[in-house]
Chain length 475, copies 2
Amino acid sequence: METFFNPQSVAVVGASNTLFNLAGTICNLLKHNNYHGRVYAVNRKGESVHGCPGYTSVLDIPDTVDLAVLLLSAQHVPQIVSDCGKKGIKNIIIESAGFSEAGEEGLKLQSEMEGYLRQYGMRLLGPNCLGTLNTHNGFCCFYGFVPEKYGDGFIAPGTISYIIQSGGIGVLVLDSFHKDVCKVNKMVSIGNKSDVDEADLIDYFNRDNTEVIGMYLENVRNGSKLMEAAKKVKKPILAFKVGRTSEGSKAAMSHTAGMANNDVIFDSACRQSGIIRLKSISELHSMPKMFTTMPLLRGNRIAVITNSGAFGGIAADLLVEAGLEMAVLSDDTQARLAKTGQLFNAKNPVDLGPAMAKQMFLDIFEILLSCDEVDGLLPVPNVWQDAVLEAIIELVKMCRHYDKPAALYIPNAIEKILGIRAKYQIPVFESPEEATRALAVSHQQHNYLLKKERYAYEGNHIQSSGKETESAVGV
Amino acid sequence: METFFNPQSVAVVGASNTLFNLAGTICNLLKHNNYHGRVYAVNRKGESVHGCPGYTSVLDIPDTVDLAVLLLSAQHVPQIVSDCGKKGIKNIIIESAGFSEAGEEGLKLQSEMEGYLRQYGMRLLGPNCLGTLNTHNGFCCFYGFVPEKYGDGFIAPGTISYIIQSGGIGVLVLDSFHKDVCKVNKMVSIGNKSDVDEADLIDYFNRDNTEVIGMYLENVRNGSKLMEAAKKVKKPILAFKVGRTSEGSKAAMSHTAGMANNDVIFDSACRQSGIIRLKSISELHSMPKMFTTMPLLRGNRIAVITNSGAFGGIAADLLVEAGLEMAVLSDDTQARLAKTGQLFNAKNPVDLGPAMAKQMFLDIFEILLSCDEVDGLLPVPNVWQDAVLEAIIELVKMCRHYDKPAALYIPNAIEKILGIRAKYQIPVFESPEEATRALAVSHQQHNYLLKKERYAYEGNHIQSSGKETESAVGV
């Protein structure tokens, strides 16, 4: 599997210098990224493309080739797959569309191509996909990608790996991390997944430097394989799937040839195998930072800290609706809080009113993180003064020290939140709903790991319906 | 009521030159805004503040005074209210806290002050509030507001009026409009609302240049008065209320002294009186543009147009979950769509694939808006090329022509969406969820008006439980 993300030599079949040639954009991108491997172009004329030596066939390349990337008319694909087999290439990415999603003719091409794959023992990614991206070595075979359009930092290296069944979602996710505190490790677009599927990739991401796995799925072909793969993983697996309604399933079917799946079954499969099901597409990029910057939420009692009484009430509603609880502070804790300064309210939600002194914030964070009644924080501070931002930066360290998480929201327009997050590199969420959800998702992961350990101890597989998990997501 | 928003002469009681004096910031703000009215400061020394002539008592001001704004220690308030009465001032805003929300002592002060109000026939806004903002004449008595911090356009004049029970929410709303296509008309912070309440203000906003009314409520003291006021209004009334859970109610109670309300009752009151209940605080600023830039959604059949197959499925799921429907396109409509260019899918969702020609978008918009099977659009276009943005600008005009709305979402990172919305002034929503919700909310308003008309025709009051409304919000 590693070869799909780190090939020493690549043949881009279909790349030419013709205007609007899509495969050519891959050669351009690899050169732009200074990719360390050797890159060859294969086209009818045998011409070189963006500095990559050109040949008329993969068989003519005077080098071993690890990976072939095919992007040309579907009807030519089976012949080229056969050539790749003869050449001894073991990994193929087919980006072309026109196979099983395109009716009878496509199915015929698909079956022919699959014959060669079996004959030569090759692994296939696709067809109808964008291929792979590895931010750590600059390998990327996403076609149509114009690096100049995105600017620096667009594919800055990180630790979140994505398995996606749509190129558009991939671009959205990458783009969204531009103003966030965590970044992408690897991304793979699986398309029609006629061979390599999400389960193979979960397996792979379980063994590399990935911290969090994100998935966008339009269908699941082999549910039990997915569940078996997921059950082996302790890293958080976050999944968004379309097709919750029959209209959504129908629309997805026309996109990547998936069968309409029963959504209830998928939901239950997720619960049993510890996959955290996401509620909106934006959670794919908003939730990972909760895992990369914060400890897991080990209980459900949350303390809210705010400068705005309104957000105290808003947060309380959201926490309860998410299956979490407003922590009940002891008299002792309340007395200690009252000593930090002029509080509007020393009960939970702790309301500082207009007070914005750094030390006061730090004292309050410390009292709440260290007390027995609180498992995690939902701070909603006003950041009109830099002192508050400095206190928040300290908070991230304090959370690690006390092994309790905080999910931050700043009650400003989104524009300001993005600016603050990028400038100060603090894990701020974009709405109170998102921050609350991050706490719920963190707790769900904690509960799953706990259950997993318990079952492992008892020598059992995890098969229960996961009551604890359910309550944590507030279903 | 007009005097609260457009006084010819104002006394700011409590304003001085002392460091951190909050009332003084109001004088500063009115000067900064070049407010046309006459502004006086009242303080112990009788000193002038930011160019506003100073007096030791309102009784000494050698001018008639329309409005007194009080921001000083609660214990002094009753005496000053009495002075205001003697002076003949008919409108008072009390921004000070420390009344009914502050226990027994506060209740005593409140009752004393209310005695003087009755005696002299004065109207009161507050206490424990920020007062009013009128973007059209620059009147604003929000304390602590530092105009230099916000920059131009922060209070650009618009047509959305807000009734809010929290200053923090007010600032968030104002700030969020900075990168949006509609703006604020008036905003009023009602605090403990011991006299003027949301019903009085709905009544007022029904008669001024307001197009949409937004409300943030922590409690409702007089539900039937609110319902009666709302029922007279044809303008959309959007309301967010905290206290859906008992924890949320408790938190709100500590903020603005409201009684915990039964949320189910509030919900039913909203349905009966045509108030659209919002699901998140951000909807307070995100939803109004659907009413100011688009016709109402008169049926529930939606066509999705996308460049990304993934978003076709995502949108279909969301529409169905919101109680709307994916429009079923006739063979004729599909044939006409297929002629516009190389489509991936001419069924709904209409998938253009990577095609991004302006004329193709325009043709598709026109076919869908003019066909009988479609009531509204949910376009999810890629905007990599300016031609698409030009097409979207045209779409807004086409929607008016065909009297059918479109709720736009652009599948880019939020940062890019904000940039596009502000630069091209097109009503783009920030997530597919938000765009779908805008359609649902528009349809809810349409159905309410329809029901209202029908009942008026039958000579009845609107008293049913609002079945249609319910289905439109997908409860």
